[in-house]
Each structure stands twice: as C-alpha cells, then as structure tokens.
C-alpha cells in the first residue's frame, strides 16, 4: 500500500467530516475562537495518540491483557455516555452565572470520536504488517493534517447554521452519536462472544 492510500484510509476511519456536526453540537456553548482552539488541541491529541499506538500500542495493550473487543466496547460506552448527556440535558442558553463551562478534554473528541478503536486498531495492524515505519509515520501525519483542516474549519459552519440551528441540531446529533455508540457496543459484544465461544 502506498503512503497516500494508508493516509486516506486513516482519514476515512477517523471520519472528521461525519462527526463534525456532532462535535460542534458538543462545543455549542463556546465562542468561535474557543472552539477552534479546542478542535486544534483535540486534533493534535488524536494524532499523538495515533503515534503512540503505532509504536507502543500492541505492547501496551498486551501488558494490561487488554483484548480487541475492549477497545471497541470502551469507545462505544464512552460515546454512549456523551450522547445521553447531549440528548437529555440540552443546554439552551449560556449559563453565565454558573461554574466555568467544562470543556471537553481529550474525551470524547480526540478519542473515541476521531482516534477511536477502529483507527487505533488499524494502526496497530499496519505496524505489524508494514516494514517501513517512516511510511506509516508520514501517512499518519498526512491523514491528521487533513483531520485538523476539517475540524478547525468546521466552526465556520456555525455562521451558516446560526446558534439556534446548532441547538436544534444538538439533540439530533445526540441521537446520531447514540446510534454510533450502540453499534460499537454491539460490535464489541459480538467479538467478545466469539472470544467466549473460542474458549469453550
């Protein structure tokens, strides 16, 4: 596989275009500049996570005896919890008198939305199969530059949709995230059950 092919696969799996409506809904209460700052940071985090899993992923997971299904299951559960929060506690107005807004940090944007179980598993797979590490490093760089561009440009979408549009969007995006999360959970459970079957 060429470097660009791998980069494209990673970019598609990270799916920034598909998840950016949901991510924007998550960041609804922050200013445009804040949103871009957060998204840039999360993008960098997800890239660092990808590199970590490239070099140390398999060793790390095997030391903790963590199986494949755990990554998928954990990602699914985390997104599920985020989606519940989005659907059932919609923040309609800026709470000026309350505590400073808790901004999402690392979870759930960097992972599991961008660098989720799929992306990290594929990276670990490639790290095993591809002899040329430099190719993989460059592929990850290219893919994540793409992710960063998409994410940092996304807040401008808000200008088109306006604040109310995004607020209405939030619950729909919550629903979307919930469906994604349930799909991840059922996938994880399916792999778990086949692992159980193999034991017996």
């Amino acid at each position: 596989m060429t470097m660009l092919q791998i980069a494209l696969i990673l970019f598609i799996m990270a799916n920034p275009i598909g998840t950016c409506p949901a991510i924007l809904a998550l960041l609804k209460d922050h200013s445009l500049k804040d949103q871009q700052r957060i998204l840039l940071r999360e993008s960098i985090f997800s890239m660092l996570l990808a590199f970590f899993f490239l070099f140390a992923g398999e060793a790390f997971l095997s030391h903790l005896s963590i199986q494949n299904y755990t990554l998928t299951l954990s990602g699914g559960v985390l997104i599920f919890l985020v989606s519940i929060d989005m659907i059932f506690s919609p923040k309609t107005e800026k709470n000026e008198d309350n505590l400073p807004k808790q901004e999402p940090y690392f979870v759930p944007i960097a992972t599991p939305l961008i660098s989720g179980a799929g992306v990290l598993s594929i990276i670990m797979l490639y790290s095993r199969q591809e002899p040329d590490i430099v190719k993989l490093v460059c592929a990850i760089l290219i893919a994540f530059i793409g992710v960063t561009v998409v994410l940092v440009a996304a807040p401008y979408l808000q200008i088109i949709l306006k604040k109310r549009g995004i607020a209405a969007f939030e619950q729909l995006m919550g629903l979307l995230l919930m469906m994604i999360s349930v799909s991840m959970i059922t996938n994880g459970v399916a792999i778990f059950i086949s692992a159980l079957k193999n034991v017996s």
Binding site: L64, Q67, Y105, F106, V107, L196
Partner: protein
C-alpha cells in the same frame, strides 16, 4: 502475567499522577514540612492497608466464600466507575474537607488505597505466587506513588495544571479500558466455570 504487568496495573489504579491535583487541593495552604510529614504518614497507612489485603487476601476469600469471578467483576465495575468520574467530572466533592488536615481519609483511603486497588491486590495474591509477584508489585507501585506525591510541587511546575489535567484524562481513559477488560475477564471466567461445567 509478569511482575511488570502486575506492577503496572497496581500503579495505574493507584493513579498518583491523576490524583496529584486532588492531593494538592487537599493540602493547600499547609506548609511544606508538614506536607512531607502528611505524605509519609498517609502513604504508610495506605501501605499497611495494602499489605493487610495482600496477606489476608486468601483468607478473606475463603472466609467470605468469594469467587474469583465475583471479585473480578466487582473490581472491574469500580475501576470503570472511577475512570468515568475522572473523564467526565472533577472531584469537586473533595474540597469540602478543607477545614481539618486530612487524616487517613481521603488521601490514604480512598485516593491511594482505593477499593478497586485492594480488590486487585486480593485477586493477585490469590492467583499469583505471593512473594515473587504480588508483594514486590505492591511495594514497587507504592514506592513510585510515594515519590510522585513527595515531588508533587515540582511536578506541577513542570507540567502546569493543563498538563496534569491531560495526564489525568489519559490515565482515566486507560482505566476505562482496564475496567471494561476486568469486567469482561470476569464474565469470561463466569462463562467458563458456571455455564460450561455446571
């Protein structure tokens, strides 16, 4: 599992880096000599409790009729819930205890010697050779945590609050993985022992 694996798990569950912020909040305003004394005292208390569970683990197991499955699943659940709390919230509740100097609670227990850690120690003591694995793992993990708490201020200066928060969240993520895995291992064990052979 190797000694490294067991030590790593204990160290992650003890989560000294993640707890650093909480610890600094709790000992805020106390002079550093007193802080050193408090760290030493709390860590020794925690160590004592950990060693108790280490050596009495097997006995408690048999006495209470606990199965490995039960301990695995419940400690997995606790690890998972603690991890979710780290990722999605902040330990604001700890600030209420600022009136007096922290004694045993909440630093030694449950910040360091948390229920999930004690359960893991019991499990490890039950399953792996005691002297060559569990005991050294406990001591090494404890010592590393002790060092981190001792050098809390310098570490904070290097990483800054944002850096510590990042570490906290990343470790929270790892703990989610660990928690889910422990629960699944427990279920797998349940499957093997209860369903297949019953």
């Amino acid at each position: 599992m190797s000694l490294f694996d067991v030590t790593l798990i204990f160290f992650l569950i003890m989560n000294p880096i993640g707890n650093l912020n909480a610890y600094l909040t709790l000992t805020h305003g106390i002079e550093s000599k007193r802080k050193t004394f408090i760290v030493l005292r709390e860590m020794l208390i925690a160590l004592f409790v950990m060693l108790c569970f280490n050596f009495l683990g097997d006995t408690v197991f048999d006495f209470l009729g606990l199965s490995e499955t039960a301990v695995k699943i419940s400690s997995g659940v606790i690890i998972f819930l603690v991890a979710i709390k780290i990722i999605f919230g902040s330990g604001e509740g700890l600030r209420n205890h600022l009136q007096e100097e922290p004694f045993v609670v909440p630093i030694a227990i449950p910040l360091v010697a948390s229920p999930s850690l004690l359960a893991m120690i019991m499990l490890s003591a039950h399953l792996t050779p005691l002297l060559s694995q569990t005991l050294p793992a406990v001591l090494i993990a404890w010592f590393l945590s002790f060092m981190i708490f001792l050098f809390a201020e310098p570490i904070k200066r290097v990483f800054k609050t944002a850096g510590l928060k990042a570490c906290e969240k990343v470790i929270g993520l790892v703990l989610v993985l660990l928690g889910v895995q422990t629960i699944c291992s427990g279920i797998e064990l349940f499957w093997k022992t209860q369903i297949l052979h019953a």
